[in-house]
């Protein structure tokens, strides 16, 4: 991948050598003339490619569940009282119903969404802001964008 020529070109002969050269010893204010080579550096860029803030934000929210060939998104699931968590591919489910069915199977007990219930376990999730919410409160697609972890609570706790 090329980020080659820009840095060296301005000290080439095509530039008038009597003009002051951009200083290399003082603080390099021309840092941005080279394009960052690692994706970590690039992630920090808010100004390239030239897309508007609303589109940029929408895409950021999408990124986590569109990695690679868009076929998997794993989150950790814990049940209260059980020290070992499980990993779950949320892309394998078409919606909340199939998610719940699967979880109920996995943990061998009935799990529900939404309403608190004295007898049943309730599924909650931690969103990208770190808050714990009831699963099922937003459309599935939006849920996929914001969910980070799942937790199955003991009945009376909710």
């Amino acid at each position: 991948m090329e980020i080659s020529n820009s840095c060296s070109s301005y000290s080439s002969s095509s530039v008038d050598s009597t003009k002051p050269c951009p200083s290399e010893s003082s603080v390099n204010l021309s840092l941005s003339l080279t394009f960052p080579s690692t994706s970590l550096q690039r992630e920090a860029r808010q100004d390239w490619p030239p897309i508007k803030p609303l589109l940029r934000d929408t895409l950021k929210g999408r990124r986590l569940h569109r990695r690679g060939d868009d076929s998997s998104f794993f989150v950790k699931v814990y049940m209260e009282g059980v020290p070992i968590g499980r990993k779950l591919d949320l892309c394998a489910f078409s919606g909340y119903e199939s998610l719940l069915e699967n979880l109920s199977h996995m943990f061998g007990t009935s799990i529900i969404c939404g309403n608190r219930h004295r007898k049943h376990h309730v599924l909650t999730y931690q969103d990208k802001d770190g808050d714990w919410m009831m699963v099922g409160d937003i459309p599935w697609e939006m849920f996929l964008e914001t969910v980070r972890r799942l937790k199955i609570t003991r009945p009376e706790k909710c």
């Binding site: 200083s23 603080v27 690039r42 100004d47 030239p50 599935w140």
Partner: protein, 586 residues
């Protein structure tokens, strides 16, 4: 000379002239024409809010009914202009409220407008009809509530891509029951949920409502209910087009869309799931404009929609459409005039989409009316650019963003100089051009020589030396706006062609090698222009003459130096000893 035209006759003649360009020409003929024209101009356009003072505009056009203002430079859209730079609406609103109380319409782009401004608008203009804010910021939903509550004849309220401090969805309930004049409502950029029942009632009592753009928080159910109440809509922006698939919902939605027989333009479609897309099929044949830039569905689903849109003139879509999808567009959308393809993955490492230069070539070949292009693509070739220019000499706007900076022709490894040469040589009516990819000074020699009608030119990560700027400023006869970032040129071309800047509206340069000393010289050479040095890292006065500045913004102005410059903006008018000049900004 014969007898002069009686002014009443001249007034009548001028009433047929809408275009401000023509009116500007009219006003240059002689003093009486200037006078008659200014008294009759209703729609006033100010392309740079700092180019003229509000008082001057207000005085010149006493019958003004509509004012359009643009504030920040275009690159502010990409976070290149620091917060607090300027572009405040207040000074304008303050003057207009006093002097032009019959104002009906305010349209602002890239400006900072506060709740107080909005309240003043609501309170001062009794006949106020239309507020359109594009890419603006500085206000909250409280300000919008003030407009909703007070403007009794409101017809248009559009918030397009604004950054609004969202205090909740209450603002909508401030529209009084007596307001029945609404024609267009766009709150697509707001986050909070509005009360559906309030929205339903508002829509039901607005028989003239033609354009409705909902925000993401409006559900499919909400959409269906609203569509039933407004089948006369011509422009629709949906909310979130997502829910667990239910056949009942699907059929209700399909029915509701089928009733919208006048729908021409469709947008929104956030989170759209493929299963619900067929609900749109009935409106597709009538659509002339389709904005799918938030619809992250895959190519097969996009094709399902697009193959039915045979009247489409404007298409905005993500690169998920891929070359294959663009083939469908080429085949079915023969009336296409404008195509924009946006990147679905801004991080270069993750690009895995099969969209190449071939997609654009295919569409250019088949869509004879195609004249406006914005295309984001990882790489490009000279051959593709040449082909595009050969098939579409009628292109007026060509913006290519090769996402990988300095990317050469991916087959020949050459710079894209020859490709862009073909574009500017072949497309003689080109008005707007954005270049990218690996470009040497040669590319700019071609652009300078052939792009005679280009008014706006955008350049990033290109060129080798000062020659590049020299070519542009000594050519490009029609150039009005030039914006450049991250290019390795310095002072000489800029100083040599300083006079050219007086013929342009503005020049923006960031991350180049223009020195502070050169800025000072330019300021002295061009007293009719504001030469702004915008530098957050070092106060310009403290730096040595030959150190490069972060950003420069130069523009024509009749208003002299602006009084609202923040600390990080310097012009020659600032006296370093005295300190930063200040204005209390409301």
């Amino acid at each position: 000379m014969g007898l002069p035209l009686p002014s009443k006759v001249l007034e009548h003649i001028l009433s047929f002239i809408d275009s401000n360009e023509d009116r500007n020409s009219v006003s240059l003929v002689c003093k009486s024409w200037f006078d008659t024209e200014r008294r009759t101009r209703k729609r006033v356009f100010v392309g740079n809010c700092y180019s003229v003072s509000p008082v001057t505009v207000s005085r010149r056009f006493p019958k003004m009914r509509s004012l359009t203002l643009k504030g920040k430079p275009h690159f502010a859209d990409y976070n290149l202009v620091p917060d607090g730079w300027g572009g405040y609406a207040w000074p304008w609103i303050e003057v207009l409220a006093k002097k032009n109380p019959l104002l009906e319409e305010i349209r602002l782009k890239r400006m900072v407008i506060t709740d107080e401004c909005l309240e003043m608008i609501a309170a001062s203009f009794k006949e106020f009809k239309a507020l359109v804010l594009v890419s603006c910021e500085g206000f909250t939903t409280d300000g919008i509530a003030a407009i909703a509550a007070t403007c009794r004849n409101l017809e248009v309220l559009e918030l397009r891509e604004c950054i609004v401090e969202d205090l909740g969805g209450d603002w909508l309930s401030y529209f009084p029951e007596s307001l029945t004049s609404l024609v267009s409502l766009d709150f697509s950029c707001l986050d909070s949920e509005v009360k559906l029942s309030d929205l339903e009632r508002l829509v039901s009592r607005s028989p003239n409502l033609k354009s409705l753009k909902l925000n993401r928080a409006v559900t499919l159910e909400g959409l269906e209910s609203l569509l039933r109440r407004a089948p006369q809509l011509t422009d629709l922006g949906t909310g979130s087009f997502s829910a667990e698939f239910e056949p009942e919902m699907f059929s209700k939605l399909s029915k509701a869309f089928a009733e919208c027989k006048q729908l021409k333009s469709l947008s929104g479609l956030w989170d759209v799931i493929p299963e619900y897309l067929p609900a749109l099929y009935s409106v597709c044949p009538g659509l002339t404009s389709l904005n799918l830039s938030y619809a992250t569905v895959r190519m097969p689903d996009l094709v399902g929609i697009l193959r039915r849109c045979w009247k489409l003139q404007k298409l905005w879509v993500m690169d998920l459409i891929e070359d294959k999808g663009l083939q469908t567009v080429a085949m079915r959308c023969k009336d296409l005039r404008e195509l924009r393809v946006f990147p679905s993955e801004p991080d270069l490492d993750d690009v895995s989409v099969a969209l190449t230069e071939e997609g654009l070539v295919t569409v250019s070949r088949s869509c004879r009316k195609l004249e406006s292009i914005l295309y984001f693509c990882v790489q490009f070739t000279n051959a593709a650019l040449v082909t595009i220019s050969r098939y579409r000499p009628n292109i007026k706007c060509f913006r290519l963003c090769v996402i990988e900076p300095f990317a050469p022709d991916h087959i020949t490894r050459e710079p894209l100089d020859e490709g862009f040469r073909a574009i500017v040589e072949g497309c003689k009516d080109l008005r707007r051009l954005s270049v990218s990819g690996l470009l040497t000074d040669k590319a700019f020699e071609y652009i300078g020589k052939h792009a005679k009608k280009v008014r706006m030119l955008s350049i990033a990560f290109a060129g080798d030396s000062d020659l590049m700027l020299h070519h542009l400023l000594s050519g490009c006869e029609g150039l009005k706006k030039l914006e450049i970032r991250d290019c390795p040129f310095g002072d000489s071309a800029l100083l040599e062609h300083a006079a050219k800047l007086e013929t342009m509206r503005s020049l923006w340069m960031s991350s180049c090698f223009v020195s502070f000393g050169a800025c000072k010289v330019l300021s002295q050479k061009l007293p009719k222009l504001n030469v702004e040095v915008i530098d957050e890292m070092y106060p310009p006065e403290s730096r040595p003459e030959n150190s490069p500045v972060e950003r420069i913004y130069i523009y024509r102005t009749l208003a002299g130096p602006r009084l609202d410059m923040p600390e990080f903006v310097w012009t020659i008018h600032k006296n370093p000893e005295v300190g930063v000049s200040n204005l209390a900004i409301k």
